[in-house]
Amino acid sequence: MLRIKPDQKQRITLTVNGKKMSGFAEPRMLLADFLRHELGLFGTHLGCEHGVCGACTVIIDEAATRSCLRYAVQCDGAEIVTVEGLADSEGKLNALQKAFNENGALQCGFCTAGVLMSATKFLEEVPKPTDHEIRDMLSGHICRCTGYEQIVAAIRQASGQESGEASGQ
């Protein structure tokens, strides 16, 4: 069995947003820290480092996953999508991002990257969600600014639905 010393760096190669990228990680380096500090992808944010707040959510091999609950070494060879992979190469926002922008679904923006990644997978699985389903999905994320209302509206809009329950007046 391969034994790795605590400080022994491993070469990790990932496919991130369609591109092969590699860097070095000590065995206990979190995937989130690897993405930020080794690969320079600072769009992924860390809010709690124990899997509660959802800010660090990325897509690993087709599943929305907390990158603070994975070690980089566990993900060697994985295919990862981060928030940097949503807009096109010219920086043009995708439909979900545009909906966030138009609905004021972000204020400080700290939680937004994680919410976008969860919502991306969610809309693939539930293309026409109800507001209740959207809120249920969002329960895995903490947003301190928006009160969630405009996030729900944005995801609803991105799913091509006009409006759910009436809100505001």
Binding site: H45, G47, C48, E49, H50, V52, C53, A55, N103, G104, L106, Q107, C108, G109, F110, C111, I134, R135, D136, L138, S139, H141, I142, C143, R144, C145, T146, G147, Y148, E149, Q150, I151, V152, E165, S167, G168, Q169
Partner: protein, 803 residues
């Protein structure tokens, strides 16, 4: 608690000595003076640079200044730049908390519901330290102590206590939620007492629309409002009559259904001087005058004709860039996307002042005024230049669609870009007396923000928005869940500058308020140890828990603001806790409610049971450290032992320093410092953590030779504690004595981390050793040493037990 924690990079350079600190500090920059003083450098040698964006704050990022100083000092000592990113545990334990208040309020009403007088007795738990600007949280609402009402007779007493809890500081609403909890709950109590509908009693007492601007008895000048219209709107949106019928039906079915409401003004754009209300008028006079809340802004057009705005407003997601771009674009006839807004602050290069920063709903009440004024200055200059070129009067020029053109003659126009560029490229061609370049800065002080007077009256803020919230709740007896069935919130924010931004602030403030009412609190165990250090323990509100909100607006434009806007970020964060508490009280038929209404607490209330948090007691405000023995929980024990001497002999020996020094386990030194006081040095190991502790013990309630109470505290590098013990001596005859003891102690520090169970075991062993030693000594010395009054006994309890 914002999502993004504190982050600081500090650097120190020599020749000249200068600190530079990059951080997500939110201001107010009055704290620059404090940091500069702490570091002992001139103001221009402390350079603060804040990030253009910040991952949320809600006031919390005001309280990072001590860390900024520490990192700066560390950078100097280490001779290299230092970076510190706070983690979530540090943040939840040590950053900042909203004030913990136990306020009493009395209200006098006439029989027809007129509010005649209010008496507030506010007790503020400021936590571990009184940090600047505390105790300002209890003065934020002071000038508006009448709330929305015409009441003229108000008495306020404020008292502070310091505890070991997270220090308090700015947090959304800053003192507002606490103030309205007292005021708006007593309005409901008055309504109930007098048999008047809670909506009606408020309406009868509202300041009337024709009374604005309204001088409140404690000094606030309310700019504008129509509180009755807001109430009407809320009742209409809630369908109040139908809601009351729904309540009747639900109650007929045996359900716990209640309706509650709360009304409040929203002070915005603070007068920095309200903080000095904590001082007496004499102290204020001695310190020199204080007043104001300067707003600053810079608008510049560079040689290429592009516009940049500097706001010095440290936004954390409130849309300052969006709104500033909009306002400047309107003034200059450009598109918002053509305007670049710089929000980072650099104290060496920005036009800043004490009040700069992002707090007290400052942006739309004050900063936007400075931006508007500055943009107007630039617009005026452009118009003058264009007027000269086009040979008309400046008043005949309008700025529209990127052009300076003659009103009514659209084809006589100059591109604004070219006019602006001329100020750089061809200053000699400018109108006479005109300064070259196009950089304008405004430093403005809202004129109403004067100094507090001798009676502590102060115009504390620039604009006073209005919020009326109405909640209907149903409480599940089986689970204690408070379900918000209906929630309506009506706001008067003056003219709305940006609809999406305003809505976002309203929903966000509402979520904060609901969270404060139902979920979020810092919990401590009986020993004062924080229990909510992670997001798994501190329950931030999530999407499914935020009730459906119906928002309504009334608009009375503010005369105190160039655009008629008011500050509005606090919103329902101030009133939702009270509206929900009033609704819950209505549902439960009890007035006595403490927030948050957690499931177990509400369940107990709904079932008529006493509420006690499992395994812990809430740290009680106001208990002095000397009464440490009264602390609940912690390490406790009791026992008895038979000793081979009479009570009188045991008493003598027990209180004799020499004897104690010999029998207290691990005792290295013990001396009597006063007739009833001892100090000791003891070395003890617990679970491999061996340390030396110094203990101080006092004897109380001595009744020779029957009983004594021992109160003491101990501390060492590895831990600290305090406790109390009781000893009773009882003659058994034949020269024997039964000694009964009990003790209770609280332990903190590293040694506490080994756990109470381990500490309990070790304590028992130590006590056993002590009595074995004592008994041996009693047997061997028939003529034992004479003892003064002394107290080493408890050295084993406190010196030994708590280690």
């Amino acid at each position: 608690t914002p999502m993004e924690t504190y982050g600081i990079v500090a650097q120190f350079e020599r020749q000249p000595d200068r600190y530079t600190i990059w951080s997500n500090f939110q201001g107010p920059f009055i704290l620059h003076a404090l940091m500069q003083g702490a570091l002992g450098v001139a103001g221009n040698r402390l350079r603060l640079i804040t990030s253009p964006h910040s991952g949320g704050s809600f006031g919390i990022k005001q309280a990072m200044f001590p860390y900024m100083v520490l990192m700066a000092a560390t950078a100097r000592i280490l001779g290299c730049p230092v970076k510190w990113i706070e983690d979530r545990l540090e943040h939840l334990v040590g950053s900042s908390s909203a004030a913990d208040r136990a306020d009493s309020v009395e209200a006098a009403f006439s029989n027809d519901g007129e509010l005649l007088g209010l008496r507030f007795d506010n007790l503020v738990n400021v936590g571990a330290f009184v940090r600047a600007p505390e105790p300002a949280s209890v003065y934020r609402m002071h000038a508006a102590s009448n709330g929305c009402y015409r009441v003229q007779n108000i008495f306020v007493e404020n008292r502070l206590v310091v505890t070991n809890m997270t220090p308090i500081g700015l947090n959304r609403g800053y003192g507002g939620p606490q103030f309205y909890y007292a005021l708006e709950r007593v309005m409901d109590a008055g309504a109930k007492e007098l048999g008047i509908d809670p909506a009606e009693i408020r309406r009868r007492n509202f300041i009337r629309p024709e009374e604005f601007p309204y001088s409140a008895p404690a000094g606030a000048v309310y700019d504008s409002g129509d509180y009755g219209a807001g109430l009407d709107k809320a009742l209409e949106l809630a369908d109040y009559e139908a809601l009351k019928a729904e309540r009747d039906r639900a109650r007929a079915e045996g359900k716990l259904f209640g309706i509650g409401m709360a009304a409040g003004v929203e002070p915005s754009g603070s007068n920095m001087a309200y903080v000095t209300l904590a001082q007496t008028p004499e102290e204020r006079a001695k310190a020199g005058g204080r007043s104001g809340g300067l707003g600053t802004a810079t608008v510049s057009i560079d040689p290429s004709g592009s516009v940049t705005v500097r706001t010095v407003s440290t936004p954390a997601g409130q849309g300052h860039q969006t709104v500033a771009a909009q306002v400047v674009a309107d003034a200059l006839g450009l598109r918002p996307d053509q305007i670049d807004v710089v929000t980072e602050v650099d104290t060496l290069t920005s036009a800043w002042s004490l009040a700069s920063g992002n707090y007290a709903n400052r942006f739309s009440s004050v900063v936007i005024g400075a931006i508007t004024e500055t943009a107007e200055k630039v617009a005026t200059k452009i118009k003058r230049i264009a007027a000269e070129t086009l040979e008309v009067a400046p008043e005949d020029i309008e700025l529209v669609g990127g052009e300076a053109r003659i009103v009514g003659v659209p084809d006589k126009a100059l591109p604004i870009r070219r006019v602006a560029a001329q100020t750089h490229w061809h200053p000699a061609g400018l109108p006479e007396d005109m300064a070259p370049g196009l950089t304008e800065t405004t430093v403005m002080n809202p004129p109403m923000l004067g100094a507090p007077d001798e009676a502590d009256r102060v115009a504390s803020a620039v604009t006073f928005g209005y919020v009326f919230d109405l909640a209907a709740v149903e409480i599940d007896r089986a689970t204690g869940k408070v379900e918000v069935k209906r929630y309506v919130s009506v706001h008067d924010v003056g003219n709305i500058l940006n609809e999406i931004v305003v809505e976002g602030q309203i929903y966000g403030g509402f979520a904060h308020g609901v969270a404060g009412a139902l979920l979020e609190e810092f919990v401590y165990d009986a020993g004062g140890n924080p229990q909510t250090g992670t997001f798994a323990d501190y329950l931030c509100i999530t999407a499914p828990e935020v009730p459906h909100l119906t928002v309504g607006h009334v608009n009375t434009p503010s005369p105190h603001n160039a655009l008629g806007a008011k500050g509005m970020g606090d919103g329902s964060s101030m009133l939702a806790p009270t509206a929900i508490a009033n609704a819950a009280a209505d549902a439960l038929g009890t007035f006595d409610i403490e927030l948050p209404l957690t499931l177990n607490k509400t369940w107990a209330l709904a079932n008529g049971l006493p509420y006690e948090r499992a395994g812990a007691a809430r740290a009680k405000v106001g208990e002095g450290p000397q009464e440490a023995g009264a602390v609940e929980g912690g390490l406790t024990g009791e026992g008895s032992v038979e000793l081979s001497a009479s009570p009188a002999e045991v008493w003598k020996l027990l209180l004799d320093p020499a004897t104690l020094a010999a029998v207290v386990p691990g005792c290295e030194a013990l001396e009597q410092t006063a007739p009833d006081s001892f100090s000791a040095t003891v070395t003890i190991g617990v679970a491999g953590i061996k340390g030396t502790y110094s203990a101080e013990i006092d004897l109380r309630d001595k009744r020779e030779p029957e009983s004594v109470r021992l109160v003491g505290k101990a501390s060492g590098a590895l831990g600290f504690g305090q406790g109390e013990g009781r000893v009773r001596l009882e003659a058994l005859g034949e020269g024997k004595t039964k000694l009964t003891y009990s003790y209770r102690a609280n332990v903190g520090g590293k040694v506490a981390a080994v756990g109470q169970r381990m500490l309990g075991t070790v304590t028992k062993i130590l006590i056993g050793q002590f009595f074995k030693g004592l008994d041996r000594r009693l047997k061997s010395s028939a003529d034992g040493p004479s003892g003064g009054s002394g107290g080493g006994f408890f050295a084993r309890l406190f010196g030994g037990g708590r280690k």
